[in-house]
């Protein structure tokens, strides 16, 4: 949400050109995410997961509320990145924005892969996910890694919001469904940073569109959650992750 709204703000209100507005929006969103982590998450690092879940919910409500105060409740349209003329490819019409979405998503996926598997920081973060204590014993600063992960995910969330905004409009209220479905996709694919999560997202997206066509579009939103429940009941570790979920 912040991605889309901030880009609008920078581009339209402050008359900054679109590419710079996008970059600024990403930076500010990242800053917000990082600030939240510093202020609200890291002081409570030892609390139960429930508490942390509640805090993040509180944080999201707060950010939404501030956005509403700043920009009101209206919906806005972000201009398409390269015009609104549909392109015809092999008999099918595609909006150019879709190509942008596809392309940028691909770049992000590849960047992720590179970052988490081939860079020191990325590997350190994965280590923390596996075993916090061991990681700190080998010299990884876990606090920094947590901070970093918040920053990175805020940035990516902002990008997602920006590339979608021209198509689906944006307001202070968007992003919740998207974020929740993203979470579903992560759990469905398996909480790793590899192809699994990406595949999860693809599966959810495709099944949702298919469902919208076959059943009614009203139930479309439910599809992601139904799949989520099924996966959690049958194979909680996700479709693409090996191994057992803990028993005791």
């Amino acid at each position: 949400m912040l991605g889309g709204m901030l880009t609008l703000f920078f581009h339209i209100t402050l008359q900054i050109s679109l590419p710079f507005a996008v970059v600024l929006a990403i930076l500010v969103s990242t800053a917000v995410g990082s600030l939240f982590e510093r202020l609200a998450i890291s002081p409570l690092k030892d609390a139960e997961p429930i508490i942390l879940v509640i805090i993040t919910i509180g944080g999201s409500i707060l950010i939404r509320g501030i956005a509403m105060l700043l920009w009101g409740k209206d919906t806005y349209a972000l201009p398409m990145f390269s015009g609104s003329e549909p392109i015809v490819l092999w008999g099918a019409t595609i909006m150019p924005q879709n190509l942008w979405i596809f392309g940028i998503t691909l770049i992000i996926i590849m960047a992720n892969r590179f970052f988490f598997y081939h860079s020191i920081i990325g590997k350190a973060m994965r280590a923390c996910a596996f075993n916090r204590v061991a990681s700190s014993l080998v010299g990884i600063d876990v606090k920094h890694m947590v901070f970093f992960s918040f920053a990175v995910s805020s940035a990516m969330g902002a990008v997602a919001g920006i590339i979608i905004a021209p198509l689906t409009m944006t307001s202070y209220d968007v992003g919740i469904m998207l974020g929740l479905k993203g979470f579903c996709a992560a759990i469905i694919g398996g909480m790793s940073t590899g192809i699994g999560t990406v595949a999860g997202g693809l599966i959810v997206g495709i099944l949702e569109s298919l469902g919208a066509g076959l059943i009614s579009s009203g139930y479309k939103d439910a599809i992601a959650f139904i799949i989520l429940l099924l996966i959690l009941f049958i194979r909680p570790q996700g479709l693409f992750v090996k191994g057992d979920a803990e028993r005791v």
Binding site: I51, M68, L69, L180, F225, L228, V248
Partner: protein
């Protein structure tokens, strides 16, 4: 051992006293309120208190997070509403049907859901809540969809219809008091201890013979049934229901109420429900700000007053009192 006997009976007496004072205040309150808008709001405080207490049993006592309580609230409301408005079933009977049906649903779905922990459980209950909400919206023929369901009859006893604010107040609060009594009893009993044991260390609880799996599902069903009761009462009091009253936002509000009041404290849930229902009314002009207040409140209370107001306020008072009180005993004279 003598000491333990006395402590036990003393504790019980204290609990009973607290309860009777609370009930008495509730019963006498209307005399001072002289009806009107405030009375109307207090009815809702009663309904949300039931919901908050139900969530507290699950979250505060057993430690199982649920972000989908609104689903049971809504199921109770819609079952009652549809049965009475569309099928002209007797309202009391439909309330019982709703109560039992939602209990059964919660029991069945509880088994797979409560195998999960932490954020997985949170997501699953969230998903459940959203799916139910979408069903309310989409089954237009049955529920009226987004435009809602109207024409739900009031409850009646003999010739008396519960249609005025005063009568509805006593109707709703009767059930609220019953739910509070049952919950307080439950919390201080063998079952309450077993639930808290599961919360603190499920492994150790199982070693002691607590059937954690079954008990978690049972309390989940219990919580669902109380929520459904609140839903039925809501339907018969406002006579019109629509899906927006049972969405994700409501689940979050309930969560906030429980946290603010104090996890694990039944009276705290009342406090949380009261504050979060009354405060927005006082700040009507700042209606839009309530969403920010929720967010800040959640964060601040969770960070600085983890026990909720019920524990935090006395602690705060104590620490202020200790700072201001002149030191007793011989005072240190320099080095």
């Amino acid at each position: 051992m003598r000491k333990e006997y006395d402590a036990c009976d003393g504790y019980m007496k204290k609990e009973m006293l607290k309860f009777f004072i609370f009930a008495a205040v509730i019963i006498i309150a209307p005399v001072f309120i002289k009806g009107g808008y405030l009375m109307n709001v207090l009815i809702f405080v009663g309904i949300y208190t039931i919901l908050a207490v139900a969530l507290n049993l699950l979250l505060g006592l057993a430690g199982q997070i649920s972000l989908g309580q609104a689903a049971f609230f809504g199921l109770g409301a819609y079952l009652s509403g549809v049965l009475t408005a569309t099928y002209t079933v007797n309202p009391w009977l439909s309330m019982v049907i709703a109560f039992v049906t939602v209990g059964a649903i919660a029991f069945i779905i509880g088994f797979p859901i409560l195998k999960l922990r932490g954020h997985y459980l949170a997501m699953a209950t969230l998903g459940m809540g959203i799916i139910v909400y979408i069903i309310f919206n989409e089954t237009v023929d049955l529920t009226g969809g987004p435009s809602g369901l109207s024409g739900i009859p009031h409850l009646t006893i003999g010739g008396m219809i519960f249609d005025s604010d005063l009568k509805s107040y006593y109707l709703v609060w009767f059930f609220t008091i019953v739910v509070i009594l049952l919950s307080v009893n439950l919390a201080s009993s063998r079952i309450g201890r077993a639930l808290r044991a599961i919360h603190d260390s499920e492994v150790a609880a199982r070693i002691m013979g607590v059937n954690a799996r079954l008990l978690k599902v049972e309390i989940f069903a219990c919580s669902g049934m109380f929520s459904a009761l609140a839903g039925s009462l809501y339907a018969h009091t406002v006579t019109f229901i629509s899906p927006t009253s049972f969405g994700f936002n409501v689940s979050i509000e309930l969560l906030t109420m429980v946290i603010v009041g104090g996890l694990g404290s039944i009276y705290g849930s009342f406090l949380g429900a009261a504050i979060l229902t009354l405060l927005p009314e006082f700040f009507r002009t700042f209606q839009d700000y309530d969403i920010i207040v929720y967010g800040i409140t959640l964060i601040v209370i969770t960070m600085f007053m983890p026990g909720g107001l019920v524990r935090g306020v006395p602690l705060m008072v104590m620490s202020v009192y200790n700072k201001w009180r002149p030191p007793s005993g011989p005072s240190r004279q320099g080095g």
